[in-house]
């Protein structure tokens, strides 16, 4: 009889953490050969995605933010650095590289994709920092060349990392001031939301800063299409915005493998119980992070905390011990506001984010996080994160 197999698809923050957590929680079962953990990921490299902002707007060197995936994993986790083509969740089979792989438990941590082609004209017309390091570096090059005119930061939804568009606008402002050309540059921030940040309490902090820095706020702007020849963006609401340089946050979609396998909704998001993180309608299948349809920030910290909850629930199922725990919706997204100040957008399902005062300390915490990311993936900072964030779950549904 073969060992009981846990398959994890996706090697981003959530997939890496859930694999390592399970390897730690089930170490005796792994040592005895009763259980195996297999991680399938498209690349043998792991990219620290929040640093795309530093690459695009500060000119940071991309290689600093890449590590070998194998080195981030518990030695007992079997790594398949190959993309999965298809998942047959009813028969518990994965198709990858022409081979079939049978599993008993499945974790879908397949993330989200920024899809500029989702809006007519957007791919040809715009730069962005959500489709990877290479495009982030191109954004930096375009900003360095820019001499005068209007820069439009154009937000499309849904997208990952809710703070990133505000951070982008303020970093563009900062860069143009450093270059001494700010008076020749207009910056417009066009968002589908009613305010600069979707959450009211946070927008109250951001909007006065935009006003002070001379960033024009255009609300309720849902992009319909872009005309690269006319250098204009048109909204569903019937408005037009002209630009000289267009930097966009593209609309995001679920992973192709989720769509191809019929496991997502029409945008590719997986129908997931927001407490237990079980995929609705399927036994022994969990989804975490950006991949789910849970109405919550698509962010690294959510993927991290959901990975802990999913790992605990799977380990309990395998051991036949206890009722499932429920993710409480904890979010904690750093939001950099220029001038070496930041806040953290923090809340749960039950508690909306409260207003905060920007501070240097929070800015330093955000900057420090990038160096803590790698040991965090390996579970070496669990105690620190638990003290800081509290337990990300409740024992009742």
């Amino acid at each position: 009889m073969r060992p009981l197999r846990v398959a994890v698809i996706g090697g981003g923050t959530g997939g890496t953490i859930v694999s390592n957590k399970l390897a730690s929680m089930l170490r005796e079962d792994l040592a005895s050969g009763r259980v195996e953990i297999h991680l399938f990921t498209e690349s043998s490299q792991h990219v620290f995605q929040p640093a795309n902002l530093d690459i695009a707007f500060r000119g940071a060197e991309p290689r600093r933010f890449v590590r070998d995936q194998r080195g981030l994993l518990n030695s007992k986790v079997v790594l398949h650095a190959e993309g999965v083509k298809l998942i047959n969740a009813h028969d518990r089979v994965i198709i990858y590289n022409g081979d079939k792989f049978e599993y008993d438990y499945l974790v879908l941590s397949t993330g989200s994709r920024a899809v500029p082609s989702g809006v007519g004209g957007l791919s040809e017309a715009s730069y962005n920092f959500h489709t990877g390091q290479e495009d982030s570096a191109k954004t930096w090059e375009a900003l360095k060349r820019f001499e005068r005119g209007r820069i439009v930061i154009l937000i499309n939804i849904p997208h990952k990392c809710p703070p990133s568009p505000v951070e982008a606008a303020l970093l563009v402002d900062e860069l143009m001031r450093k270059r001494g050309i700010r008076e020749r540059v207009e910056i417009s921030y066009a968002t589908p939301y009613p305010r600069a940040y979707p959450t009211h309490s946070i927008a109250e902090v951001v909007e006065p800063i935009f006003e002070k820095q001379g960033i024009e706020l255009v609300t309720f702007f849902n992009t319909d299409q872009v005309d690269p020849q006319r250098r204009s963006v048109y909204s569903l609401e019937g408005e037009e915005l002209s630009y000289d340089l267009l930097i966009t946050v593209p609309p995001h979609r679920g992973a192709e493998v989720i769509m191809a396998s019929g496991l997502g909704d029409e945008e590719g998001w997986i129908q997931t119980d927001k407490g237990t993180l079980r995929v609705k309608g399927l036994d022994r299948v969990y989804a975490i992070g950006d991949a789910t349809n849970i109405p919550i920030s698509k962010s690294g910290v959510v993927a991290h905390l959901q990975a802990e909850v999913a790992a605990m629930n799977i380990a309990a199922e395998i051991k036949g011990a206890g009722a499932p725990i429920h993710y409480n919706g904890r979010i904690n997204c750093p939001l950099e506001l220029g001038g070496r100040r930041a806040i953290f957008v923090s809340g749960t399902y039950e508690t909306p984010p409260a207003r905060q005062e920007p501070s240097l300390l929070k800015y330093l915490m955000k900057r420090t996080f990038s160096s803590l990311y790698w040991p965090m993936l390996k579970g070496r900072l669990d105690l620190v994160f638990e003290l800081y964030l509290g337990k990300p779950y409740t024992t009742k549904g």
Binding site: P158, N222, L236, E237, P295, G347, Y349
Partner: protein, 77 residues
């Protein structure tokens, strides 16, 4: 056609995200029913409807959430 949007329990990025997803799919003449627990949802949806030229038909307080029924009367294409 009526589009149902259940955004209860969503604060960030908020019910307006879900509403706009439905608006993208809707045709003029369609209705969108939004359920939300976010206290900002009522004023946000009112402001969006006014700005975009769409119509709010009813707003109902239903204990722990509100239900807003909109009619899509304007869309760029």
């Amino acid at each position: 056609m009526r589009h149902m949007v259940d955004a209860r329990g969503s604060y960030c990025p908020g019910p307006i995200t879900e509403l706009i997803k439905a608006y993208r799919k809707a045709e003029p003449g369609d209705e969108i029913e939004l359920l939300a627990t976010d206290p900002a949802a009522k004023s946000d949806v009112k402001a969006w409807a006014q700005r975009s030229g769409n119509e709010i038909l009813t707003i109902e307080e239903r204990g722990d959430h509100i239900a807003i029924l909109l009619k899509v009367v304007k869309k760029a294409k």
